[in-house]
């Protein structure tokens, strides 16, 4: 291995300085669960590496009803949150216990499909990312970040901001085994129903159904203004199935994933329709 330096910055500012100085030559580790695997496989030879584990980015705070999750917060910490949201469910179903100790919320945003389950509930909850660079900080919707991946050389994702969950949520994951497995598909839904049971707001997010987690917006449009009845749910599930773009890999074929997107969107909406 030819890594010449491994930096362990103690503050976000130090981490940004290093990013500005070394740019793309600097490989960033959240918990190392993605990078170290690539290094062991001989697919990545970092000349310079940096861990964010000690940079003061591992806190979870509540502010004005929002949840602010430091980018280096371990997944295990999210799984132990007591907010009964789809975020905790997804965190608890990611990998095994030892992986959850290491893997981080921020790192998971950079995992390629079929990994990166955390993006699924985060998209459904309309999360934003706080990005810091030299002399600037700004937020960007997660959806925009996932589609454009436009981090500049000196920028880091420092935290994930999750608005208070509106309405009801569901998260379902299908894997080849019950735990410690990447997703065949993952589905998160967050929906607000009015007093007549009509859907006034809904977000459906799909994991492992495209190169990155995506919203199923045509399926969402099917649901708006309607009750979660069988025919509507069926139409939404078929729409999600049609608009997703899954890949074939060693876990599942694209055909099977597309079928399962339909099945699991259907099940998630069923679950929401039944819960009151």
């Amino acid at each position: 291995m030819s890594t010449t330096a491994f930096f362990v910055p103690r503050t976000v500012e130090q981490a940004i300085d290093l990013k500005r100085e070394h740019g793309k030559n600097l490989v960033v580790l959240g918990g190392g669960t993605i990078v170290m695997g690539l290094v062991h496989d001989g697919l990545l030879f970092p000349k310079l590496a940096m861990s964010l584990a000690r940079a003061g980015m591992s806190d979870v705070r509540r502010r004005d009803g929002w949840l602010e999750i430091g980018a280096a917060t371990p997944i295990a910490r999210l799984a132990a949150l007591k907010g009964a949201t789809t975020l905790e469910r997804a965190a608890g179903m990611l990998g095994g216990p030892a992986l959850r100790t290491l893997a981080t919320a921020g790192g998971n945003l950079f995992a390629k499909a079929p990994y990166g389950d955390m993006c699924v509930p985060l998209l459904a909850m309309d999360a934003e990312l706080e990005i810091a660079g030299a002399g600037r900080r700004y937020t960007v919707p997660l959806e925009q970040f996932l589609s454009r991946r436009s981090l500049k050389n000196d920028e880091l994702v420092v935290s994930i901001h999750v608005p208070k969950a509106q309405g009801r949520g569901a998260y379902l994951k299908l894997g080849r085994r019950q735990a410690n497995t990447p997703s065949v598909v993952a589905v998160a839904v967050q929906a607000v129903l009015d007093t007549n049971g009509k859907c006034t707001d809904v977000r459906i997010a799909l994991g492992a159904a495209a190169p990155q987690a995506v919203r199923a917006k045509k399926a969402e449009a099917v649901l708006i203004g309607r009750r979660l009845e069988d025919a509507t749910i069926k139409a939404a599930a078929e729409s999600a199935q049609a608009e997703c773009n899954p890949a074939t890999d060693s876990l599942a074929s694209a055909w099977y994933r597309r079928e399962m997107v339909g099945v699991f969107v259907h099940r998630a909406l069923d679950e929401l329709g039944r819960s009151t």
Binding site: T4, V8, T33, M36, G37, H40, G96, A98
Partner: protein
């Protein structure tokens, strides 16, 4: 900031005693344990965090030592299988694994026992489902999961009765 240029020294508590290793940047805890400190219970499996054979405790939390740069272990506390018991002073988990024939090739055993210890430290009387979920990250390619789970159930019983630990 700890900038670790080229080879550097890392010191940490290993199985209750201070140790130091001199390592290159990005050397993993697994490599330091096996190749520098010659503790071979911790196994090198997939190197991807998928198999669990390198599982150890870091500050009493379960981690995959193949994914942890040992630089990040500086000043912390590591427990490996060698630290919980050995010949003549077996931990109840080790005794139970022996009694239940819970090892075939034995490659997964160290990781299984560390995951089981982590579980029993937090939950001395787990259900079968809780044991299964605690072991979710540990693969046994001999597929001898049933005796492993039975051994952990038995170890929990032995430990709750105060049989030597």
């Amino acid at each position: 900031m700890a900038t670790q240029l080229a080879t550097h020294i890392v010191t940490f508590q290993l199985n209750g005693r201070p140790h130091a290793v001199t390592v290159a940047p990005l050397t993993t805890l697994r490599t330091a344990l096996r190749e520098d400190l010659h503790l071979h219970a911790t196994k090198a499996g997939c190197g991807q965090g998928g198999c669990g054979s390198c599982t150890v405790l870091l500050d009493n939390e379960l981690v995959l030592s193949c994914l942890v740069p040992v630089t990040l272990v500086d000043g912390r506390s590591v427990t490996t299988l060698e630290g919980i018991g050995g010949p003549g002073r077996l931990h109840p988990l080790q005794e139970a694994f022996h009694d239940h024939f819970a090892a075939q090739c034995g490659y997964c055993t160290a990781g299984m026992i560390m995951a089981a210890k982590w579980l029993l430290d937090r939950n001395p009387n787990p259900t079968r489902a809780e044991i299964q979920m605690a072991l979710a990250g540990n693969l046994c390619r001999c597929t001898g999961y049933v005796p492993i789970i039975e051994a952990i159930e038995d170890a929990a019983r032995r430990m709750s009765k105060g049989v030597k630990r």
